[in-house]
């Protein structure tokens, strides 16, 4: 979820990305985006402490689901069939992976 928010902000940031250092440093959406990524990574590390990597890593794909839902609601992008099929498939995939973990 946080990853999706970060992606959104970074995407917004790259919209007006130039190679000049000053504009990189003052690109607020990009900076906030990466900060959220930082928190995201911290949470991931805490999860990895007790969880299996082979299980947790693919679950990050849920980011695509949140990103898509956020782009529908926040950015007001029109919903489309491919995306909807995609996010449902990802959710089912993650559910199946979850069942395959160490009990």
């Amino acid at each position: 979820m946080l990853g999706a928010l970060a992606q959104l902000l970074i995407k917004k940031g790259t919209d007006h990305l130039t190679l000049e250092l000053m504009s990189l440093v003052t690109n607020v959406p990009l900076i906030i985006g990466y900060s959220i990524y930082g928190v995201n990574t911290l949470l991931m590390v805490l999860a990895l402490k007790d969880g299996e990597m082979s299980l947790l890593y693919p679950i990050i794909a849920l980011t695509y689901v949140w990103t898509t839902l956020l782009s529908y609601t926040v950015l007001g992008e029109p919903s489309n069939a491919y995306k909807n099929i995609g996010i449902v498939t990802i959710v089912v995939g993650v559910a199946i992976m979850g069942r395959g973990g160490r009990k």
Binding site: T41, V45, S54, I90, G93, I96, M97
Partner: protein
């Protein structure tokens, strides 16, 4: 090199680097203690560095368009991750994990396919081509 091939190579590289980043995060996470200072261990820092590198390469790659191709390639990182998990941490690879991963890759492909139209066209077309297409 065509922009798409360049993008694919960049994104492919990013997926490999990112999966190593995750492996180092796992190694670092295994060494965490109750002390907050244990977060400053070399493996975690190296993992984060790999992630930053991978995300920079990813951003450069994704600009080349064709998200239906590029998104699933990012998710290839999950496949490498499964392999590293087996090799480095001896985690069991179950049928459910493979099946779930397969579905996730398929789902990501569809999301990429659906994201195609909302992407701005890559700046490879010449002005005359753009006039024709309008």
């Amino acid at each position: 090199m065509s922009p798409l091939v360049r993008s694919m190579l960049l994104v492919f590289g990013a997926s490999v680097i990112g999966s190593f980043g995750m492996a180092f995060l796992k190694m670092g996470a295994n060494r965490l203690t109750k002390s907050i200072w244990s977060f400053l261990n070399t493996r975690l820092i190296f993992g984060v560095a790999l992630f930053l590198g991978s995300s920079a390469i990813y951003v450069a790659g994704i600009k080349g368009g064709q998200l239906s191709v590029l998104y699933p390639m990012v998710s290839l990182g999950y496949v490498w991750g499964l392999v590293w998990a087996k090799i480095f941490f001896n985690e069991p690879l179950t049928k459910q994990k493979f099946a779930g991963l397969g579905l996730i890759l398929l789902g990501v492909f569809f999301v990429g396919l659906g994201s195609q139209d909302s992407q701005p066209a890559p700046p490879v077309t010449t002005a005359s081509q753009q006039v024709q297409s309008h």
